[in-house]
């Protein structure tokens, strides 16, 4: 019995409950990030006396960390592909690589935040700064939760309990991970690349 057939053997639509759960959750998350992005956009020109977004964003740096996150989607999908073949070892390597790239992205975000802080953009500086840190912070928390899930998978894999039979679990974590990535694709373009107001 293949993993697919095991997971779906008795639902009305033939679709796995768990996967549907994740997709429903991601549909819901669209509204969450939409709200945060809107809250940022209406506030991006309200920088009060603090730094303006156009003055402070470091596009080359953010481009690199965006690229890192984008490539973590590739390693994630390779991890899934490996476990679907029953290749436990490569699955583990790609999961670790994904978690590593995710951590690199988070590290970049921490660096970005501390730099901004040094340049006078604190959380309470202006409506712009509050909205910026809240939006990117929420995204960062999502990435961190994803890393925790990936590491749980890795531990599970070392204990020998992550096999081809439950590749769907990897797939579901992957869906979450890719979603976090597409949210960043949106944020990177709309918040960073589209020219921001300068002071």
């Amino acid at each position: 019995m293949s993993s697919e057939a095991h997971a779906v053997h008795d639902t009305t639509t033939g679709i796995s409950n768990n996967k549907l759960l994740m997709w429903a959750f991601l549909g819901s998350e669209c509204l969450l990030f939409g709200g945060l992005i809107s809250a940022y956009l209406v506030n991006r020109s309200r920088f009060h006396t603090g730094p303006a977004p156009g003055d402070i964003f470091d596009i080359p740096f953010t481009s690199v960390s965006s690229f890192v996150l984008l490539m973590s989607s590739l390693t994630m999908v390779l991890a899934l592909s490996a476990i679907q073949r029953g290749d436990v070892r490569n699955n583990r390597i790609w999961l670790l690589a994904t978690a590593l790239l995710g951590s690199l992205f988070i590290g970049g975000q921490v660096y970005e935040f501390t730099t901004f802080l040094r340049e006078g953009l604190g959380y309470t500086t202006s409506p712009f700064s509050s909205a910026f840190f809240t939006l990117t912070g929420f995204h960062g928390v999502h990435v961190s939760v994803g890393i925790v899930m990936l590491m749980s998978l890795v531990i599970s894999s070392y204990r020998g309990t992550l096999t081809k039979k439950n590749s769907e679990t990897v797939e579901i974590v992957g869906l979450y991970w890719h979603f976090v990535d597409v949210v960043w694709i949106f944020i990177f373009t709309v918040i960073y690349l589209v020219p921001s107001p300068t002071s």
Binding site: D10, T13, Y123, S126
Partner: protein, 665 residues
């Protein structure tokens, strides 16, 4: 505290062999209820909790009306009054109407689609316990004397630290956040249950209208809850971490709160009313002895209401200065949404037309919904017109309108549901005589209380004022409304007495025979009260109103003739060895962590530590929990009629889904 936490160390869990966390064995009594994952017990828990909060919210309503009964009232001070009306609104919306809908949905939805449980039984328990935790957290604010006082829609910047320096609005923001998590989990669970757990042959368009309306409501929740989540987060950050989302002094626009709140808030209105519409759509056909008129129209109008409910939110903001184009556009969309609602009213009346009507308590309450909601709907259309609304906003006219919709529409519908499904749940009917007293006192009292508020509002009485001076023409109708509320209270007491007396009368008697109402849908296939495994065997569905069509047929002359008695059609409820999900400790433990985190944010961050630990530990324990307890009361027998209702949880929301798979081994 620390001992129990050490005991549940997640690392310990990771190294111990699986099965170290054996499932609770039940054992009867309160343990059964705390650890249950049975959708029927969870439904009853939801209902009982909601009725408790109904008494709390009703008590607040009485205080409001006592204060306003006479001019210059001195029952409560202005400050306390603000807290009372705010908590009355929050309680009635989030802790009475929504959980009552959840009660009916949990109990009935799996039965109506022929399933043994919901798709994720443990998540189902989790959403109840989180809801309870949130409700208790919100009401805990009374104990510290600092209840929310900014109104249920909490407009900024009135809710900022400048104007609300106490902890009241923090209780509001964090409490609703917790309740919102419960709604979101339950929404995903029920959507997947409907999509994936239907009995063979049960296509979407053979589902009862109640199930359909619940499905629409869950989709509304799925997409609306994250919006209020954003708004509440921003409010918490503004109040506690000094951000400036709603701070005009820093150039921010507080209107953002109004948009976010009402983008959630208007779908929320339909979240409140559609379950009741569903109940009425079950009760009226049964007691008219006719199929629902225009089933497809009923379903599609429900879906249409769900969709259009997303495009009308700014009609709550006509006087907020959103500009003439926005006001014009939202006036139009608001008037359009009256159309699908009108379709429903018409279809209920057409169902009754020419039917063999039986006006027992359930039917009386259902017709009460049709008439009272029509009144509320019509006053709603009047303030869809923005020029008229400009006069009516923030007056008692609005208070009258939404009480006609929520009390007259939603609450009366739930009472219809109580009388209709009581035998299904508890095995005995509620008394008819007291039921009719219950209905008429509530209906008359309700109209006495809220009818005059139309006049008060048009005469210019603002809502939320804690008192008024004599001589404005408010005195008479206010006293009138207060008397009305006491009549409503009498009606509620009739209900409580009815519940107690009916239970006492039924003691020692055999349970109500199956199908007491000559009903139509799948839940009546099982005996009363519903056995723990719901159905002895899976039902093959071939038509809408399957149960009815198994009992009745039409002869050559088109007359309805009986082909089988209910006793022949119904199942005995004595199947053994049916595979059922095992109970679990972790939903209640996880839920207990959330209010602790909330209190920590308010008072001392250290309180967050045990709260967070509880959440983390129980998440991992949840994931490591064996999917079934082989020694459970309904352990692995032959998987007779397995409809996939056994435990397949994988924590989706931020929890390490990976471990679940490991535990299956």
């Amino acid at each position: 505290m620390s001992e129990s936490v050490a005991e549940l160390n997640p690392n310990g869990a990771a190294t111990q062999p699986l099965g170290a966390y054996s499932r609770p064995k039940g054992g009867g009594g309160w343990r059964d209820w705390v650890t249950t994952v049975d959708h029927k017990k969870i439904g009853i828990l939801y209902g009982a909790t909601a009725l408790f909060f109904f008494v709390v919210g009703g008590f607040e309503a009485l205080l409001i009306r006592l204060q306003l009964a006479t001019p210059n009232g001195t029952v409560v001070g202005a400050d306390l009054y603000n807290q009372i009306y705010t908590m009355h609104g929050i309680t009635m919306v989030f802790m009475v109407i929504m959980p009552l809908a959840a009660a009916f949905a949990n109990y009935l939805l799996p039965l109506q689609i022929g399933a043994r449980d919901v798709a994720f039984p443990r998540f189902n328990a989790l959403s109840f316990w989180i809801f309870l935790a949130g409700g208790l957290f919100l009401n805990f604010s009374w104990l510290v004397g600092d209840a929310p006082d900014g109104g249920w829609f909490a407009y900024s910047p009135n809710t900022g630290v400048t104007f609300s320096p106490g902890h009241g609005m923090d209780f509001y923001a964090i409490g609703l956040q917790i309740v919102g998590i419960a709604s979101l989990i339950s929404a995903m669970n029920l959507i997947i249950t409907v999509l994936n757990m239907r009995a063979p042959g049960m296509t979407l368009f053979k589902m009862p209208v109640f199930t359909w309306m619940i499905l629409v409501v869950q989709f509304l929740l799925l997409f609306a809850v994250p919006v209020i989540t954003v708004a509440l987060f921003l409010l918490v950050f503004d109040r506690n971490f000094g951000s400036h989302f709603f701070n005009p002094e820093m150039g921010a626009d507080p209107l953002l709160w109004q948009h976010l709140f009402w983008i959630f808030g208007h779908p929320e209105v339909y979240i409140l009313i559609l379950p009741s519409f569903g109940i009425v759509s079950e009760v009226i056909p049964t007691f008219s002895r006719k199929p629902i008129f225009g089933y497809e129209f009923m379903v599609f109008s429900g879906i249409a209401i769900g969709f259009m409910g997303w495009g009308v939110w700014a009609h709550h903001m006509f006087v907020s200065g959103i500009g003439p184009i926005s006001v014009g556009a939202f006036t139009l969309s608001t008037m359009f949404i009256a159309v699908p609602t009108g379709v429903k009213i018409l279809n209920w009346m057409a169902t009754m037309w020419g039917g063999k009507l039986r006006f027992n308590s359930a039917m009386l309450f259902a017709t009460g919904v049709v008439s009272m909601f029509t009144v509320g709907g019509l006053s709603g259309v009047t303030h869809a017109l923005s020029p008229v609304d400009t006069q009516q906003t923030d007056t008692y006219y609005i208070v009258a309108h939404f009480h006609y919709v929520i009390f007259g529409g939603a609450l009366l519908g739930f009472f219809a549901g109580f009388y209709f499904w009581w035998p299904k749940v508890f095995g005995h009917k509620l008394g008819e005589t007291l039921g009719k007293w219950n209905f008429w006192t509530m209906l008359v009292g309700f109209n006495l209380a809220f009818g005059p508020m139309h006049i008060l509002g048009l005469n210019g009485m603002s809502r939320r004022i804690d008192t008024y001076s004599p001589g404005f023409g408010f005195d008479f109708w206010n006293l009138f409304a207060t008397i009305g509320v006491f009549v409503v209270t009498l009606g509620v007491m009739f209900f409580v007495i009815n519940v107690i007396l009916s239970a006492r009368r039924a003691r020692g008697l055999p349970p109500e025979p199956p199908d007491p109402w000559d009903a139509r849908s799948l839940e009546w296939f099982s005996p009363n009260p519903t056995p723990v495994h719901n159905f002895d065997e899976v039902i093959e569905v071939s038509s809408l109103d399957e149960f009815w069509h198994r009992k009745w047929t039409t002869d050559e002359d088109g007359r309805v003739v009986r082909k089988a008695t209910a006793a022949e059609v119904c199942q005995a409820g004595d199947a053994e060895g049916v595979h059922l999900p095992s109970p679990s400790y972790w939903p209640v433990v996880l839920a207990a962590g959330l209010p602790l985190i909330g209190l920590g944010l308010l008072y001392n961050l250290w309180i967050c530590v045990p709260g967070t630990l509880l959440v983390l530990v129980s998440t991992y324990a949840w994931v490591f929990e064996p999917p079934d307890d082989p020694d459970g009361p309904f352990g692995h027998g032959h998987d007779e009629g397995d409809d996939g209702s056994h435990d397949e949880d994988v924590p989706g929301d931020g929890s390490p889904a990976g471990q679940e798979a490991g535990s299956v081994e």
